[in-house]
Amino acid sequence: MRRWREFFGREALLLLLIAVVAGSFGATVPGYLDPANLGDRLRYLVETGLIAVPMTFIIASGGIDLSVGSLLALAGVAAGLAHTRAGWPLSATIGLALVVGAAGGLVNALAIQALRLPALVVTLATLALYRGLAFGLTGARSISEWPEAFTDWGSTGGLQIGEHWNVPWSFLLLLGVTAVGAAVFDRHTLGRQTRQLGENASAARFAGISAARVQFAIYGASGLACGLAAVVWTARFATAHPGAAQGMELDVIAVVVVGGTRITGGAGSVIGTFLGLVLLGLLRYGLDMCSVSQQDQTILLGLLVVAIAVTNEAWARRKPG
C-alpha cells in the first residue's frame, strides 16, 4: 500500500543514515560504540528531544516557536529561585517549572490568537522577553544548590540493563513523551487537525476545525515541554542558569527538519523527528570524539539545517498533486 511505501521513504532513509553514521564513526573512533559512552550520550539528547515533539506539531501547523530556549531557562531559574530563596521542596519546584513553562507557551498562543500576530514575531519577542526575565530575576547568577538525589538522577542515574547498558532515566522519559507525541500526532484529532490547519487554513475552518483550540494546545504543550526540559537540564548540570539553552531553538528546529517535517506546514512525523534527533546526536557524538570544536559543529549544524530544509522543499515540489 502507498502508505507503507511513504513510511519507508523518509524514516527508512533516516534509519539508513543512522546506521551509516554509527558504523563509520564506530569503525574509526575507538570507544564510540562503548555501551557506557553511548548510554551516557543519550542524556545529551533529552532536552532537545522533549521540545522537538511539540515543535513538530507547531511547524506542521505552519507556525514556529523561537522562544523555547529562553523559556527553558526561565522555567529553570524560576524553579531554582523557589527552591533556594523560598525554600520550596523539590517536588513543588518541579511543578513550578512545569507551570511556568506552560504559562509561557500559553502567552505565546494568546498573543498569536487574540492579538492576531504572526507566530514568528510573537515568539521572537518572547525569546527576548523570557530570556530577559530569567536574567533579571537572577541577576545573571546561577543557582547550584540542589538535592543530591535530584542531580544524581540527572547526571548518572539510569536503568541498568544487563551488564553493560545503563539507560538514563531522562532518556526513558523522552521515549515516553515521544511515544505519546507520536500517538497524538498520528492517531488523535489534534494531530490531524494540526496538519490540516497547516495545509489549508481556510478549508480547515470550513471543516469546523478551531484554529484557536489547536494553537492553544500545541503552543501550550511546547511551553510545558520547555518546563520539563528545564527540570532535566537542571538535574543534569546541577545548575539553573539564566543563560541556559541559548541556541536551543536552532537545535530543535534542526531535528524537526531533518526528520522530514516541511517548514511550510501540512505534513510531519514525530517518529521522523525522533530519528532525526538520534542521527544528529550520533553526528555530534562522533564529532566530539574527533575533537571537532563546538563552534565548528555549530557551523555544520546550521548549514545542514538549511540544506535539509531546501531538500525537503524541492522533494515535496517534485511530487504531483
Binding site: G132, G208, T298, I299, L303, A309
Partner: protein
Amino acid sequence: MTDSATLLSIRHLSKSFGGSRALDGVSLNFSAGEIHALVGENGAGKSTLIRCCTGVLSPDGGTLGWDGEPLQLRSPRHARKLGIRAVHQESEFFPELSLAENLMHIEGLAAGPAWWLDWRGLRTTVRAELRALDLDLPVDLPAGRLGIGQRMLAEIAGCLARRSRLVFLDEPTASLSVRESEQLFSHLVRLKQAGTAVVYVSHRLEEVLRLADRITVLRDGKVAAAGPRADFDRDKLVATMVGRSPVTVEMARDAAPGAPVLTLENLSDPQGRFHDVSLSICAGEIVGLYGLIGAGRSELAQALVGLRRSRGELTLCGAKYLPAGPSQALTAGVALVPEDRRTDGIFVTHPCRENVTAPWLGSLGRAGFFSLRRERDRSDAVARRWGTRYRDIEQPIGTLSGGNQQKLLLGRWLEPDPAVLLLDEPTRGVDVGAKAEIHAEIRRLAAQGKAVLLISSDLPEVLALSHRVVVLREGTVGGEFARAAATETLVAAAALPREKTVRPEAPAPRERAGQRGPTIVRELGVFGALAALAVVLTILRGREFASAGNLLDILAAASLVSIAAAGTALVLISGGIDISIGSMLGLVGALACTTALHGLPPLAVLAVGIGLGVLCGGSNALVAYRGGIHPIVVTLAGIYVYRGLMLRFTGGYEVMNLPPGFRSLAEGSLAGIPKVVWFAAAVHAANAWFLHQTLAGRRLYAVGGSPKAAALAGLRPEAIRALAFALGGALVGLTAVLWGAYYGKIQSNTGTGFEMQAIAAAVIGGCAVTGGRGGALGVVAGAVLMAVVYNALVLLQVSAYWQGVFVGALILGATALDGWLHRQPRGTST
C-alpha cells in the same frame, strides 16, 4: 456610424478547466471605436474569454489576431504594453500605497527620474487624468481606503489617458452609484470616439441595450448570437442567454414536502452582503437558490452554519438555531458543502481518507483518539457509495479529477446524516458523467426526507432538481417560483439587477496633505512617545538625564543601532526578515578590523566591511528565495553559522589594539557632535532618499505590501527582496566597522542580541513584520526610543539584565498596536 476596423480577432478559442469546457470554439471580433457588449449567464465563459485576451490565461486552442497579425500573449504586462486592459472588481492593486503610486507601479506612469521621483508631478498628472472624467478622488490616500467603484473609475480614467486600444469592463456599474454610472457612460462614449475598442460585460441588460453598438451572447462557452444592437431587445437577449431547446428533464415525482426544517426570518449580514432574507426549507424539499455572482448566496449559506455572523431569526426544527461554527452546525444537523473546493474544501496533498473524515474524525474513537482501521473502512465506504473513481483511499486527493473530489466532499458532509444540506455549486467544474451521478444522489437524499438548499448558477440544474426556486438579487429575495411556474426566462430575468437601483454614494475619503500622510502620523506618534518619556525622565532624574553629556551619550548609543536598524527596515518593508545580523556584525567586525590591524587605511576597511556585509546579506537572500524556504529559517541558521565562522577566525580572541588612525573614524566628535552620530545622520538621510524618492525604494513597498500585485505588475519580487537583504547587509557591515572603531575591540560575543535591538527599533518605528509599511524617520525614532529606555534603566538603577524584557515587550506592543491600527475597515468590500 462607427469607424470599425477589427482590432482583436478571436478564432475558435477554447479553454478547459479540469473536465469542463469554459470556452468552446469561440470566434468573434472586437473593433476599434465601438462598444461591444458581451452578455451571458454565470459560467457562460465571459470571464475566461477576458482572461485569455488579457494574457492572464493561455488558451488551449484557437488563435488571436491583433491588428491583422497573429498574437500570442505572454503575460498581463505584455497585453498592457499592447494597449489591452481589463477593469474589474478584483483587480490586483497595492492597498497601502496611494492611488498615484499604484498607477506608477502598475502602469509604469512616469514620475521623473528613477533616482528622484517627482511626486508632485505624478500627483498632478493623475489628478489631471481623473479630472478628465470629472473625478475628484484623493490621490494621496492609501488606495485601499477608496471604494471599489472609485477605484474602477480611476482605472478607467487611466485607460482614457493612456489611449488604450482595447478595454474590457467587467460589471463596472455593480459598485457605482447612479450618478457615477452616468459619468461612466459618458466617458465610455468618449473612449469609443477616441478610437478605443470597448468590451462591456454586464448583466444589466438596460445598460447593454443603451450603450452597445454590437452585442454578442455567450452560452455554455459558445457564441449563441452576435449582431448589431438593432437586432436585439431585452426579451430576445434573455431568451438567447438562457434558451435551449426545451429539454424534458426527469422531474422527481415528489410527495408533498414535509414540515419546515430550517426557517430564516429577515436574515441580514452586518457587512451588507445580504439583507432581509426570509425563506424556509421543508423536509424532503429541494429549494434552488439562483442568483448572479455577488448576489450574496454563498455568504448566506455561510451564515447558516455560523461562518459569518448574521442578524435575524433562524429556526431549526422549531427551536432557535444559533450555530457558532460548522462543527456546532453539523452537530445540530446542518452541513454546508462550500463553493470553492480548491481553497475551502480539500487538503490537496493529504490522502482521500483524511479529506473525507475531516469534520467528524472524533466520532471514530474515544477521547479524540480514532481508529485508523475504522477511518479507512468508513472513508472507503463513503467513496464507493458515491461511485468515486480512485485507486486507493490513501492517494492524495489532488490526484483525483474534479468530479471525484467533489463526490468525496459531498460524502464527507453527508456521512454524519445531517437533516439540512446546503450545497453551494455542487457540480461546478465537474464532468458530465459525475454531474449526473451527483444529481441522482441529491434527488435520493431529498426523497429520504432531507431538506436541501441548492445554490447554483446553472439554470438547467436548478430547474431540474428544485421543487421551488428562490432568486437572490443584490442581496435580497428577488422572486420565488414553484417548480410548475418556473421557466428559465422568468428565473433568469428575476436575477438581473433592476435599472434604477438607488445606491448610496460612497463618500470620498477626505484627502490629507502629503503623499505619505498615514505613515508620517505613525512616525510622529513615536516621537510623541519619545517626548513623553523624555519629560518623565527629566522629572524623575533631572540633570542626570537632561544634561548635554547624557543626551549625547544616548545619541551615540542609538547611532550604531539605528544604522543597522535602517537596514532591518529595508528588509522588513520588502517582506523579509533577517535575524542573523547580530552574528553578521561580529563576523564582519572581526574580519574588517583585522585588516585594519594589518595596516589597511580606514576608508578601505569601511569598504571591506560593507562589501562583506553585502556578501552575507545577499547569501541569506539567495538561499532563502532560491531554496524556497522562509528567511526566518535561513537567518536562524545564519546566527550560528556566522558566529561559528567568526570564532573560528578569531580563535576566541578579541580583535583589539586597533590603530588610532582607524579609531579616529568613529572616536571623538566633530563640531561637538559625536562622529558616529554624523554617520548615522548620513545613513538616515540616504535611507530616507532611497525609500521615499527612488523607484527602487518604492518597489520594496510594493513587493512587501502585495507580492501578488507586484508580480502581476511585472516587478520581480525575488530580485527586489534580494536587493533589500544586500543593502541591509551593507549597513550591518558599516555598523560593524564603526563598532570596532568606536569601542576599540571586537569580542567573541560582540553583536549578540543586536538583531533584537535593530528589529525592535524598526518595529517601534512603524515597520510591519509582514511587510509593506515603515519609513526612514520612524527607524530613527525607534532607535532613539530604545536608547532612552536603556538609559532610563541605568538612571533608575534597574539592572541591565532586564533589558531583554523591555525589548521583547516593545516588539510585542508595537506590533500589536500596528495590527490594531491597520485593521480598520476599509472602504472596499470584495
